[in-house]
Amino acid sequence: MNVPLYEKIWMWAAGGMIVAFILMVFAGVAFSALEPPSHVETIDPAQVWTDARFANRGVTQSPTGATVIAVAMMFAFNPAEIHVPAGKPVTFRLTSADVTHGFQIVGTNANTMVIPGYISQFTTTFSTPGEYLIVCNEYCGLGHHQMYATLIVEEASS
């Protein structure tokens, strides 16, 4: 194929840019563990409230961090208020009791789908104490826009 010189330069530049994008994604994975939540674990959606993994919802604190167990449902999160420590890794474990929901902590990059039959899990660290809004970001029915919760990141007690 006969490609004119300027277009050839452009095509090399375009290819170079795409390689740079790919390296950037790699760098995020390698240096910042910047991976999307991709946990693979299933659960019977009809048994969510009695399943041992979700029977005790809320926050469990330990010296090294905290674990949050929460259920998304039409049109609320259970629990509706979550307290976690700042500066320590917090692991969220979520599932849905009905349809597909989203779980997004506004002002952070904590964001995951919550799909019935599956357990979403991700770990993150909140550096800034304060009150955060958690919203459902996947349409889940006529009350979708009323589905939210509050996250309170507390100054770590030293």
Binding site: M1, N2, V3, P4, E7, W10, M11, A14, M17, I18, F21, I22, M24, V25, G28, V29, S32, L34, E35, P36, P37, S38, H39, V40, T42, P45, A46, M74, D98, V99, T100, G102, Q104, V106, G107, N109, A110, N111, T112, M113, V114, I115, P116, G117, Y118, I119, S120, E131, Y132, L133, N137, E138, Y139, C140, G141, L142, G143, H144, H145, Y148
Partner: protein
């Protein structure tokens, strides 16, 4: 009107009417998001209308328009009568029945599941059946396109098929590979489940099948627009196509890269391992490549046009372009917005970065630049170009047609930029209102939702202009002698058919890539212990 032109003309009008209905709904949605209290505003109406808007715009307007354009390419680029016209008409009517079924279910409030219809939200069976019929109709179209390509090849041994048909054939191939996913999703999982024949459905499997279809769907929208950019625009601009062979390369790259990328829509899904998402991310980023080539080739073709009209200097050629021609303006403006949309798309696809924008207003900001402008505005421009020629009438209300693309550009800038920003600030997409009990974070979005609503008003005015011009032309345009559709000549003559014209080979490469990207993850998924979900209808 020439009898044979009735086929594309009928398809065009289904597309135009679907567009009109969907645009009216969009206005209400944009105003609702800004918390403006309108009569009849309710959450039920809002989500119903988001569903109708998505289905009518993304599936009906686009599909029928693309089918129309395919027949135009057969008639005017291959210069032959449509072989298999009976099958083509059957496809049209099957599609129309499908649209009526699906639309009835949606408007009756029985299918408020949005155009992505993720289970376990369950729509009325008529919704799934209607969508199936639209796709079956489009398969008949695909068969007719392929049959006509073969007939042309038999009659023109040793010649390369015109670039317009090369691009439309790529569109057909992408569509046939893509629709396998949605056909399996609807026929195997959703339709039996909505009829009560099966009790549960696996929502992640349904999402995998949907996005196997959902991403190549965007190239099904985009490729016909590229066909117009490559094969009609340079002519209207008064110049020549800078490179025919690079156009062929671009269409081939889309055949092989369109499908094995769907997991980047599921970046935040549980149940899909990170490694497969990473592979799909890399493949997705390479799809930027054919679009970047297109940006150069089409812009260079415009420069050729300007210089053929005597432009000198660095940028003087821009001034010599026919900015008052509605087709030219529509395409040029849609290219500018598509450049922004393309970079946004790279962000969406970039693995961990997706968490910042996933399901936020950024996404609606993004795809209104891509499908909502690169495809839709190009199609509107094409309609100005095609309808007078097919109908044998003058374009009526020419001033409105001249202004309309600029209004769309302005409205889309307001709408899209404000949604990109509120998305980065964390506002979710697809919400009736974004108040969240008066939370401080939500208050910060409000100025921008107003800006987005103003954008919506401007877009609605633009859509109304388009509809007025179309109706005026079809009903009251001055009759005139038929005018031929003229295609762009390439700067260098088209050679013999080469590697880029061997569609069978590229289909094979595409299928191999699809298998690499999907066979193992789907196999692993099916082997895993999974629990289905019963249906829900919270609407």
């Amino acid at each position: 009107m020439n009898r044979a032109d009735r086929l594309p003309y009928a398809h065009l009008w289904v597309a135009i009417l679907a567009f009109g209905a969907a645009a009216a709904m969009a206005l209400m949605q944009a105003l609702s998001r800004a918390s403006l209290d309108l009569p009849y505003r309710s959450a039920k109406m809002y989500y119903l209308s988001v569903t109708a808007h998505g289905v009518l715009m993304a599936l009906v307007f686009t599909t029928f328009f693309i089918m129309a354009f395919g027949y135009v390419v057969i008639r005017y680029a291959l210069r032959q009568d449509v072989l298999g016209a009976a099958a083509a008409w059957a496809g049209f009517w099957i599609g129309v029945v499908g649209v009526v079924l699906a639309a009835t279910a949606v408007l009756a409030g029985k299918a408020t599941v949005l155009y992505t219809f993720y289970p376990p939200l369950k729509a009325h069976p008529a919704f799934y059946l209607g969508l199936t019929l639209v796709i079956v109709g489009s398969w008949l179209w695909a068969g007719v396109m392929i049959a006509n390509y073969r007939a042309w090849k038999r009659a023109h041994a040793g010649e390369a098929v015109p670039l317009a048909m090369h691009g439309m054939l790529a569109t057909v191939i992408v569509w046939l590979i893509a629709t396998v996913g949605v056909a399996v999703e609807v026929l195997v999982l959703l339709l039996p489940w909505s009829l009560g024949l099966t009790r549960t459905v696996d929502p992640v499997l349904a999402r995998i099948l949907f996005w196997y279809f959902g991403h190549p769907l965007v190239y099904f929208w985009l490729l016909p627009a590229y066909v117009a950019w490559y094969t009609l625009l340079p002519r209207v601009a008064g110049g020549k196509l800078f490179s025919d062979s690079l156009g062929r390369l671009v269409f081939v790259l889309f055949i092989i890269l369109s499908t094995p990328v769907g997991f980047h829509h599921q970046a935040l899904d549980p149940g899909v391992p990170a490694g497969w998402k990473l592979l799909h991310t890399f493949l997705t980023l390479w799809i930027l490549f054919p679009s970047l080539i297109t940006a150069f080739t089409v812009t260079a073709s415009m420069e050729v046009a300007g210089r053929m009209k005597g432009a000198t200097g660095l940028l003087d050629w821009l001034k010599r372009l026919p900015w008052g021609d509605p087709f030219f303006a529509a395409v040029a403006l849609s290219m500018i917005l598509f450049a922004i949309g393309g970079f946004g798309g790279a962000v969406n696809a970039s693995f961990g970065m997706n968490a910042v924008v996933h399901n936020t207003a950024w996404i609606q900001g993004h795809f209104h630049l891509t499908v909502g402008t690169a495809a839709a505005l190009t199609f509107m421009g094409l309609a100005y170009h095609l309808v007078p020629r097919l109908a044998g009438r003058e374009l009526e209300l020419g001033l409105l047609a001249k202004v309309q693309p600029y209004l769309w550009f302005l409205g889309m800038l307001l709408f899209s930029i404000s949604n990109h920003v509120t998305g980065l600030m964390g506002m979710p997409r697809r919400v009736y209102e974004a108040d969240y009990g008066g939370a401080a974070a939500a208050q910060a979005w409000h100025g921008l939702t107003t800006l987005s609503a103003i954008g919506g008003l401007v877009l609605f005015a633009s859509a109304a202009f388009f509809l007025l011009v179309m109706l005026g032309t079809a009903l009251a345009g001055k009759r005139r002698a038929p005018e031929p559709l003229e295609w762009a000549e390439p700067l260098h003559p088209v050679g013999k058919p080469g590697l880029l014209d061997r569609f069978g080979l590229w289909v094979l490469v595409a299928v191999v890539l699809v298998l690499i990207a999907y066979a193992v993850p789907i196999w692993n998924h099916l082997r895993m212990e999974r629990f289905g979900s019963p249906p829900f209808t919270p609407f």
